[in-house]
Assembly symmetry: none
Homo-oligomer: 192 residues x 4
Amino acid sequence: MARPKSEDKRRAILAAATQVVAEAGLGAPTARIAKLAGVAEGTLFTYFETKDDLLNALYLDIKDQMREALMSTYPSKGSVQKRLKHIWQQYVTWGAAHPHARRALAQLDVSGRLTPKTKAAGALGFGEFDVLLRESTANGTLRGHSPAFVTAILTALAETTMEFMIREPGHAERYSTSGFEALWGAVGAKNK
Amino acid sequence: MARPKSEDKRRAILAAATQVVAEAGLGAPTARIAKLAGVAEGTLFTYFETKDDLLNALYLDIKDQMREALMSTYPSKGSVQKRLKHIWQQYVTWGAAHPHARRALAQLDVSGRLTPKTKAAGALGFGEFDVLLRESTANGTLRGHSPAFVTAILTALAETTMEFMIREPGHAERYSTSGFEALWGAVGAKNK
Amino acid sequence: MARPKSEDKRRAILAAATQVVAEAGLGAPTARIAKLAGVAEGTLFTYFETKDDLLNALYLDIKDQMREALMSTYPSKGSVQKRLKHIWQQYVTWGAAHPHARRALAQLDVSGRLTPKTKAAGALGFGEFDVLLRESTANGTLRGHSPAFVTAILTALAETTMEFMIREPGHAERYSTSGFEALWGAVGAKNK
Amino acid sequence: MARPKSEDKRRAILAAATQVVAEAGLGAPTARIAKLAGVAEGTLFTYFETKDDLLNALYLDIKDQMREALMSTYPSKGSVQKRLKHIWQQYVTWGAAHPHARRALAQLDVSGRLTPKTKAAGALGFGEFDVLLRESTANGTLRGHSPAFVTAILTALAETTMEFMIREPGHAERYSTSGFEALWGAVGAKNK
DNA sequence: AATGAATGAGAATTCATTCAT
DNA sequence: AATGAATGAATTCTCATTCAT
């Protein structure tokens, strides 16, 4: 066989795309991405047929990284609050540490260039966390909200929190804590 | 002297831009905006020197509309919760009723094409609401968060809530209520 | 109104396209056509939306010129042979005088880039000549061939003749005469 | 020594090229030809150094097939008309049976990508037919036209005839006959 | 001021050809 | 020899902006 497609190159292109999209938006030239990735302009298209394909793959890739960060050390046991807190911690830590990924994700999310399939695949696979949500929302530990609404609130508050953590790194720790308190106040069972 | 610039045309362009940006993103051609506004391609540029100028003006314009919706009937008196709830109600009602404006705003917010000046001006001018925030965060009625953080949380939860209100119009009322409860749980003083 | 579209520019583009297509085939860059026409690359596309549109317009334009050359002095009276000879003379004279147009036409004809509509429109409008053909093929003056077949034969022999006229300009006259004799022998009523 | 080049592959590439060029013109990607031929993209270039080389080889190959069809059963004896008719029959039968080859040939002929050498080689080698032409044109049996002109007329009328045979297969036989009558009328000695 | 044609610098993508495997 | 990934110049078309009318 001839040279096989290189996983390294694929990763380099995705990494470059993350940065370039974060910095310059979805209008960023594929040429710039290719250059930053260290491949020829045409090579990008042997790995991703079109720019939209690249964008969709990028979305899934970032979601994968995020999922890995959130779920790999997820504790199956412990109170709802404890498990939720774990997710929260991992999430904001990851997000604050990967501003490019976060920003690219934000652009992609509102872009209208993701296929329904991509959106669906991106949402999937948070496994045990989904279980936690379904159970807790059902039995009232997380009020009576729907799991989707709770996830959306979690995401929204986490994004907000990360924003502040990045803006004021000195107070990152404090924001993370405040953020979680806000989340728990928002969705945790009403205290008597 | 020649004809003075027409305020009508300016408004038509902004309205068209709102819709086009909402539907097609920031990459949407100025020609499309001009056409929808019913003016010539070149005319757009006598009202806004560059596309970025238009985008910045659009951001401020939508923020203005939002402000008008939130603040025009703002009650100076009443409990913190009551006044906050008023803001909330106006906000999500406006947002659910103006999906184009909301979507355009979301695109603009993450675009990197707004000048710091525009961002600042957009945040300003919520007048009495700012006072409420500053006082309440100071005296503990709204926990100890900074006013900026509280505003960000409010915005984030409201956006999330609107999303669901638009997606499931039949349950709009319920989402609005749940959303406010979440907000109050998140930022209201800790119930003993 | 602003600058109106210029008929001169349209003609310049078509003329340039004729030459460039004749010389370099249908793969010829639009940039080269624009340059030869003395307009900017983008301008070409304000006159013809796509390259295919240009090609179709070019086909019709050349056909128009041809039609003009063949039919403008067409004699309504006279024998079938006389009228056919007139067409022949005009045709080969025009063709030998416009080698670029002829060559471009040949490329377009076999290209598969002409719409059925264009092909149909190009064939139309040879008016009185069509009448001549229909009548003469019906009454046997032109054997029993169908009008379409006779036209095709006429075209094929004319093309061949022009080829030789251009290749050996010194014998142009003689080829034209020989060509017509061949045509008349091919399609004229069988001599007793 | 490494594997010798395979004649099978060479033929597969030429066959694929015939079809692809017929269907998509000379602009057709070499990759598509290679794929249809069942070889790798790069392999095509070990058999033909450049695309133009392939195109020139293709032209000669199709001409060879044609020659084979026309000349293999050529009767050395018989009247001029009889021998000419044999050529005609073989020609239009072959052409109607190989539309791809015919169409590819037409594209190549007007393409400007054939070298003079190729054009010359393609015209050569019709052996005894050339003899027939030279003698008959000289002694007046085929009027006084030059052999080249007669060949061109033959080709032109045959192409036209084939077009109609393919378009209306039900009348193929009739067109073949009519076509030859036209040819004989065109070039046969003037009937007294 | 209003118009829309004109401009030309990109943009995404294609493709003949090369070359590592 | 065979493969197909890699290359980057070339291509068609778009679009913000300018400018003649």
